[in-house]
């Protein structure tokens, strides 16, 4: 096990560095820069800006400076757009928002998805089954940027029950609609996975044995079948996080939430190089670490897997 972790880490760290370098390289290659969109700046002002941000130095110096700061203190520098705010500070203040919605959405998706999927598997080919699978299909098909505004339209702008946007702190009514929107896709996927996994397990020999032994249906389900149904869900965690991430970006945009995703989009639109690199690096690190954790968990749970 330890060897496995070490091996993975050895692959992960260079990967992150490559990711950062690639992003940095892309930004440098691209035409234009962050301070000129449609504007015409006088040469003096432009020169001032270039000097201030060190843009007039040769590329290897800039690269070295950036990477050194990152490797040494994990310092991603100052944002170019949000004057005097360091990238680290921005990430620090926006992370709780994204984390809150993301985690709540995932929890909700797990609870609802596993329950629905289990019921559907147990009551296969009945109304429950068809109903929940239909809803699941809708969940996969309706894009979150359509679902979100429609939820806002119904529950906020027509019924006046919930706020239509903005962050209201934690916890607050403002959380409900963004979390619902974000979790819809995951809920659907998890339901389908649970159902498929459980169905497969329910057909297997050892379940038949358990039933033959006289175990109550409840025990059969919870102690044995569920475990089998959960495996695909656990292995799905990695991609789930990735989907949650991309979902968060849209949801934060729609609901005007001051989270990482929203800042990332703004940074991309503003060509705010340090902020882009900072957020990309942060996301890459998080995802890779989460994947590692998932792998460990899976190894722990599935005795068939050996290292």
């Amino acid at each position: 096990m330890l060897r496995f972790i070490v091996r993975r880490l050895l692959v992960t760290i260079p990967t992150i560095l490559v990711v950062i370098s690639l992003t940095w390289g892309l930004i440098k290659l691209a035409p234009g820069n962050f301070y000129s969109t449609e504007r015409r700046l006088s040469p003096a002002i432009e020169q001032n800006i270039r000097e201030k941000y060190g843009l007039d130095k040769p590329w290897y110096q800039q690269y070295g400076k950036t990477m050194w700061g990152i490797v040494r203190h994990l310092d991603f520098g100052l944002s170019l757009r949000y004057e005097n705010q360091s990238v680290n500070a921005i990430i620090k203040q926006s992370l709780p928002v994204s984390a809150a919605i993301g985690l709540l959405a995932y929890l909700l998706a797990l609870v609802v998805g596993i329950t629905a999927g289990s019921i559907a598997a147990l009551k296969q080919n009945t109304r429950w089954d068809y109903g929940s699978m239909a809803l699941a299909m809708l969940g996969i098909s309706v894009p979150n940027f359509v679902l979100g505004p429609i939820l806002v339209l119904i529950f906020s702008l027509t019924l006046y029950w919930l706020p239509p946007s903005r962050w209201g702190g934690f916890p607050s009514w403002n959380l409900i609609l963004p979390v619902l929107t974000l979790s819809a896709l995951q809920m659907a996927y998890i339901a389908r996975l649970t159902r498929a996994g459980m169905l497969e397990v329910l057909r297997s020999d050892y379940i038949r044995t358990a039933r033959a032994k006289g175990l109550s249906e409840r025990d059969v389900v919870i102690k044995h079948a569920l475990r089998g149904g959960l495996m695909p869900v656990i292995s799905y965690t990695g991609p789930a996080l990735a989907f949650l991430l991309t979902g968060t970006v849209v949801v934060e945009r729609i609901f005007s939430l001051p989270g990482l995703g929203n800042y990332f989009i703004q940074a991309s639109l503003n060509r705010d190089e340090p902020l882009i690199i900072g957020i990309v690096a942060f996301i890459a690190i998080t995802l890779l670490l989460m994947n590692l954790l998932v792998d460990i968990a899976y190894a722990y749970l599935d005795p068939r897997v050996r290292y």
Binding site: L41, N125, P163, S256
Partner: protein
């Protein structure tokens, strides 16, 4: 595959789609009176969206609109705006009197003015505040409004007097400055200006004639630039001055020379450098409001932090969460606390119009700031009862560089003006009213406003021909003007949302009516401002001006001497007309003279008037005391939440003075 499953799934999908589509068809046909929820907040809290996050809570530091609204809640001044007419009403000054030529104002302050920490307010606070507002290192962007005070400009620019060390005599301005207006301080006894603010008969005689007062009555002293190089340049340029300056010393103008005096603890006297009958109305502006001397001196720049700040307005700061909201609560120390009905005001900074409108609809906001309603929504929202539709005290116009040909020819300028159909423009924009003069129409009651030229393309073409650029008509009905030097004329504008659309509209008009294609050029804000101010641009540019006080002079003064209006047009005849008007004490006659000046300026056509914006916002019907006055300034202490539905506002509240 059972048909049951199929039917269920398909049925679900079809049902959902139909439901949504039907909903979208019917949602607008519901003829609700108001836009959104009309449930008043349970508590006495007013939630207002203020625009962008304010930059500073220091009343002299910012000239932005979001900040202005905050300052009105937090700081009191000598006078306050009337919520409907914007006329000055007593605030910290109980009553006042003005001398015969509107060059000296004496205020008697009330004795019960208090800061939010309980400290009493007196005339020294005003002296301190005015001095700080004009100090060079404060660098207030609104200092220009206070330049009417004597030696204000000299103090603000750190200029110097020229004094003979032996005799103590100062050189006088009238000896060296051409066209100086006569010293305005009249020597006739001071007299009350407004009958309802009659002072105590004892006070009329009692206002002491202090040494400072006498000094204010001496002729205006000459001031020279503080910077040595600039000063040397100025001296060298004038041989007479050079001769007289020799052997004399330069004395920096200090705050003690500023024309503000605390005659006694509760009497404040202001001396102006020129006649300014409108000055009283100007005093409600935030740059004239109080700053707490002790707190500023103790904490320096950090004095506005919520833990340090001390205010004197109807409300004080409770909490400030950046980018989330600022919460103000009522200040029981305020002299007028009894009038204040709200317990708290929440100022929420949101810039995106659509977010704001959604929050308003749901009932999270009670009112929104001016110009929030998106243009495409107007054909529906305009008919809702909570939509405020009134005139605004601002103008949009085009300026022309009169220093460069071909626009140095007044006929060409007039032609360009006559070729724009202001009515069509107003119809297209929806939130504006057409403007043909320079002051907004109907804004100043009793002002005989000149009409200005109406849209007349034929006349425009004729004028162009007279100027040497004949316009010919083509076979397809369009026009062309071959001789016109199109490369000498372009339209510049700053890059910001709809400016490009407007520019294209003007361009289309000139092309259509004159056959001239005016090039368009977008510029970044600072470059744009520079180009206008330095008269570098070729041709035309857009401009806008919001009034600082309710008097035509606030617009007409744009072409006074020394104003950087971006046209290069300066006419001594016009300036003389304005000066004469300001010297006139008779209100009606003054208005007539101002109107004449405006008419003269319009004929010279340094500008092309385009439109007057309308006020354009929504407020809930239960919000009372908030009136859509032309300046969009609301004295917050008059606002309250009406719980009795019968007393709600079922339309735009009237601005008629009661």
């Amino acid at each position: 595959m059972s048909s049951g499953k199929f039917k269920q799934i398909v049925g679900l999908v079809v049902l959902a789609s139909l439901a949504l589509s039907t909903y979208s068809c019917t949602v607008v046909s519901s003829d609700e009176e108001f836009f959104g929820s009309t449930t008043p907040p349970k508590q006495n809290i007013f939630r207002y969206v203020n625009g962008d996050e304010p930059t500073s809570l220091d009343p002299v530091m910012s000239n932005g609109q979001p900040e202005a609204r905050l300052y009105m809640a937090l700081y009191d001044g000598l006078v306050e705006y009337n919520p409907k007419t914007l006329a000055p009403e007593p605030a910290l000054a109980e009553r006042w009197h003005i001398n015969n030529d509107s060059s000296e104002f004496t205020f008697h302050l009330r004795h019960n003015g208090r800061w939010s920490n309980g400290d009493p307010i007196d005339a020294n606070d005003f002296v301190y505040s005015f001095r700080r507002a004009l100090a060079k290192k404060t660098a207030s962007p609104n200092a220009s409004l206070a330049l009417y005070l004597k030696y204000a400009q000299a103090y603000n620019e750190e200029q110097v007097f020229v004094r003979d060390a032996k005799t103590g005599q100062y050189l006088l301005a009238r000896d060296f400055v051409a066209d100086l207006a006569p010293d305005p301080i009249s020597t006739t006894p001071i007299d009350a200006a407004k009958p309802e603010y009659l002072p105590d008969p004892n006070e009329l005689k009692g206002d002491p004639d202090t040494a400072f007062h006498q000094q204010m009555h001496t002729p205006l002293r000459l001031t020279l630039p503080g910077d040595e190089k600039a000063r040397a340049k100025r001296i060298d340029a004038d041989p007479k001055l050079k001769a007289l300056v020799a052997g004399k010393e330069f004395v920096t103008v200090t705050e003690k020379d500023l024309g503000v005096e605390a005659v006694d603890q509760y009497t404040l006297r202001l001396s102006l450098v020129q006649q300014a009958p409108f000055f009283l109305g100007l005093l409600a502006h935030q740059v004239f409001r109080l700053q707490p001397q002790k707190i500023v001196e103790k904490y320096g720049d950090a004095w506005t932090q919520p833990e340090h700040i001390v205010t004197c307005g109807a409300f004080k700061v409770k909490t400030w969460i950046p980018y989330d909201k600022i919460v103000l609560e009522r200040d029981p120390m305020n002299w007028d606390a009894a009038t204040v009905k709200l317990d708290e005001i929440h100022f929420i900074p949101i810039v995106d119009q659509h977010t704001v409108m959604n929050m308003y609809k749901v009932g999270e906001l009670d009112a929104v700031y001016n110009h929030t309603v998106p243009n495409p929504w107007l054909h529906v929202l305009k008919y809702k009862k909570d939509y405020m539709d009134a005139v605004e005290m601002a103008i949009d116009y085009l300026i022309m560089n009169t220093t460069k040909p071909p626009l140095d020819n007044v006929k060409v300028r007039r032609a360009f003006n006559l070729a724009i159909d202001k009515d069509a423009y107003a119809e297209w924009r929806r939130v504006v009213k057409p403007l043909t003069a320079f002051t907004p129409e109907g804004m100043f009651p009793g002002y005989p406003q000149p009409k200005g030229a109406k849209f007349n393309p034929a006349e425009a073409r004729r004028l162009l021909g007279e100027a040497g650029y004949p316009v010919t008509q083509n076979a397809d009905g369009s026009f062309s003007c071959p001789k016109f030097p199109e490369d000498q004329v372009e339209f510049i504008y700053n890059v910001q949302s709809a400016n490009k659309l407007f520019a294209e509209w003007y361009q289309a008009q000139w092309k259509q009516n004159l056959g001239i294609t005016v090039g368009l050029r977008a510029m970044e804000w600072k470059t744009f401002l520079d180009s206008r101010a330095k008269l570098e641009y070729k041709g035309l540019s857009r401009a806008a001006w919001g009034a600082d006080y309710m008097d035509p002079f606030t617009f007409l003064s744009l072409f006074y001497t020394g104003s950087e209006n971006g046209t290069g047009w300066e006419d001594p005849k016009y300036v003389a007309m304005l000066d004469e008007a300001n010297r006139t004490l008779d209100h009606k006659k003054r208005y007539e003279l101002l109107a004449q000046a405006e008419a003269y300026m319009l004929e010279q056509q340094p500008i092309i008037p385009i439109d007057t914006p309308s006020v354009n916002f929504v407020k809930k019907p239960y919000v009372k005391g908030m009136y859509p006055n032309p300046a969009s300034l609301y004295p917050w202490k008059y606002i309250y939440i009406e719980r009795d539905q019968a007393k709600w506002d079922y339309s735009t509240p009237s601005l008629a003075a009661d």
